[in-house]
Amino acid sequence: MSEPILELRGINKSFGPVHVLHDVDFTVRAGEVTALVGDNGAGKSTLVKCIAGIYPTDSGEVLFNGEQTHIHGPKEASNLGIEVVYQDLALCDNLDIVQNMFLGRERGRAGLLDESDMEQAARKTLTSLSVRTVKSVRTPVASLSGGQRQTVAIAKAVLWDSKVVLLDEPTAALGVAQTRQVLDLVRRLAEQGLGVVLISHNMNDVFEVADRIATLYLGRMAAELPTKDVTHSQVVELITAGRSGDLGIARPENAVV
């Protein structure tokens, strides 16, 4: 089997006296949806921001495609093919879909934008994801529904020939029906061969789309398991207590010193 597309080993991160991530190991495989779950403050968003190059890590190594790399900033992460879709969407309301998708990376020469080229690329990406719910790519984002905005945000991540897409609670602000449409899109990303990381609090969502579930507990990786090998209640125990039966972090009294 080929090596994981992205692998983190022994990542540590502190904010002053607060030790947020303790020796976290985390792998992302191409073509799989890896769900990253954990209680509030477990370090999920911090881990994602470390991968995206927003926070520097204190120690640990990052392997991309089997080669060791250092991600020093968001630009380097996106050059590697890592894209992040944030909780709060980060789209500009006053711009249309094409302008949003190319924001900061506009195509064109000598100060002139190649609008038709960008429009075509945007349309092609949306079609490749079988997104047919958006009528026109020139619709201003302000007039889109929450689900459509999330779709645009995800399509934006895919447009750049990315290898890994990190989704930080993409469905947190959505209704039930829209959530399902977004989850459908998440799965299709993975089926195209991308490595997808999904942060979510909703166990149903996780079990519906994820191939693997990674659980963080107070900044430690409690377990990383295939979805088909765990049950709902085991994952909840891992989230709340860090262990479930033989799974998870060993009890302090059993730990080998």
């Binding site: 719910t133 829209q178 089926e191």
Partner: protein
């Protein structure tokens, strides 16, 4: 796709027939001018006007002045189907997941949803409950009213009432899926074999448009085939045609769950492909696709493809030679997982068929092509299945 011949036709029946034909033309081939409709259907201009006016007043179509003018004179109005006028629910039950979509007239997907299946959630009752919940949510979200339901199932299905006799990879036996879904959704439900619906989709909207004789072969966990012969589906007695995957191809082959040995599916199904790629069996689909893609992207290394997929290509080609000899299609469409195969593999299979198949030589080379609908083929086929009875009534 067939119309029953009637003896002695009354004018209102003719009108209904023409209306259905016109609507089907718009549904399948998309927007079209009134003048083109008159030519294609061989009807008088005034007849077309009456039909289009009737459909427009019912809200099924809209008319617009075309943006591009051709020639002199008043331009003929463009007739556009209105997707929301008739919406069907298409459901594709697979071994690993269920996907569903609301599809409007003209084949536009209005909204969709899918979920993974695990041990327990694969039971028929669970699947039906989830479908009922999700369809209600989708219908509310889109504020549409569903007029029909089409379901694709990977197994042996009785067309008349949607009884699933056996879907081995799902571990379903004798499930009255059609009846149970019709009871909870309270809509007419049609159930079909997945490969047959894939063939229908490719025939109507995909790579096999305009081909009267085609075979669709697809690999998911199992391998299935659908046949269009003389422009209409070949179903066989009870509608059980399509188990191409259980064609015995290797006398010393692996044991198949169907009770036979050396079935084609054991050599070219998803587990076989996983073995060839040295992935663990039961890897997620995306992982297999990613591996195939990385294989295809390795610069200038056809030897790598040959080395790892040589045997796989051999068995794929051999099966295709048999299929072409038996069914004599104009083209063979490879769908689903096969659609992700590197081009070298398809080219080699194609070359073997041209060389070894008598029928292929006789017709000057049967084309072997990759599906253009990808993963959605069966979903689109299910939608077409649901539309068949609906088009005559809207």
């Amino acid at each position: 796709m067939t119309t029953t011949p009637t003896s002695g036709t009354r004018p209102d029946e003719i009108r209904r027939h023409n209306r259905t034909a016109l609507l089907r033309r718009l549904h399948v081939d998309g927007p079209c001018t009134r003048a083109a409709l008159a030519t294609e259907l061989g009807l008088n201009r005034s007849t077309i006007k009456a039909l289009v006016d009737g459909l427009a007043s019912a809200g099924v179509v809209a008319e617009r002045v075309p943006a591009q003018r051709s020639g002199a004179g008043r331009p003929s109005l463009l007739v556009l189907p209105q997707p929301h006028a008739a919406v069907v629910l298409a459901i594709d039950v697979r071994v690993e997941q269920v996907s569903m979509a609301m599809v409007g007239i003209g084949g536009e997907i209005l909204g969709r949803h899918s979920w993974n299946l695990h041990r327990k959630s694969r039971e028929p009752g669970e699947v039906i409950t989830h479908i009922a919940d999700s369809s209600q949510l989708l219908a509310d979200e889109l504020s549409v009213d569903v007029v029909g339901v089409g379901v694709s199932v990977p197994g042996v299905v009785r067309r008349a009432d949607g009884q699933v006799h056996e879907a081995p990879n799902l571990q379903w036996t004798d499930v009255p899926l059609g009846k149970r879904l019709a009871a909870v959704l309270r809509k007419p439900v049609q159930v079909g074999n997945d490969a047959e619906l894939g063939a229908l989709a490719e025939h109507v909207r995909g790579a096999a448009r305009g081909a009267a004789d085609m075979v669709y072969v697809s690999a998911d966990v199992g391998v299935g085939g659908g046949v269009i012969s003389g422009g209409s589906p070949l179903r066989g007695t009870g509608g059980y045609v399509g188990e191409l995957g259980h064609m015995v191809i290797r006398h010393d082959g692996r044991q198949c769950y169907c009770g036979s040995q050396g079935c084609w599916e054991t050599e070219v199904g998803e587990p076989a492909l996983c073995r060839a790629l040295a992935l663990p069996e039961g890897s997620p689909r995306g992982a297999v696709v990613a591996e195939l893609r990385s294989l295809a992207e390795e610069p200038g290394d056809p030897a790598g493809v040959e080395h790892r997929l040589g045997d796989f290509t051999y068995w794929l080609s051999l099966g295709l030679v048999n299929v072409v000899n038996m069914l004599g299609p104009e083209l063979v469409v490879l769908g689903d997982l096969f659609a992700s195969l590197p081009t070298e593999v398809v080219e080699r299979a194609s070359a073997t068929v041209h060389q070894r198949s008598l029928v292929s030589r006789a017709v000057g080379g049967t084309r072997i092509v990759i599906s253009t609908l990808g993963r959605d083929a069966k979903l689109i086929g299910a939608a077409e299945l649901a539309f068949e009875p609906v088009l005559g009534t809207v």
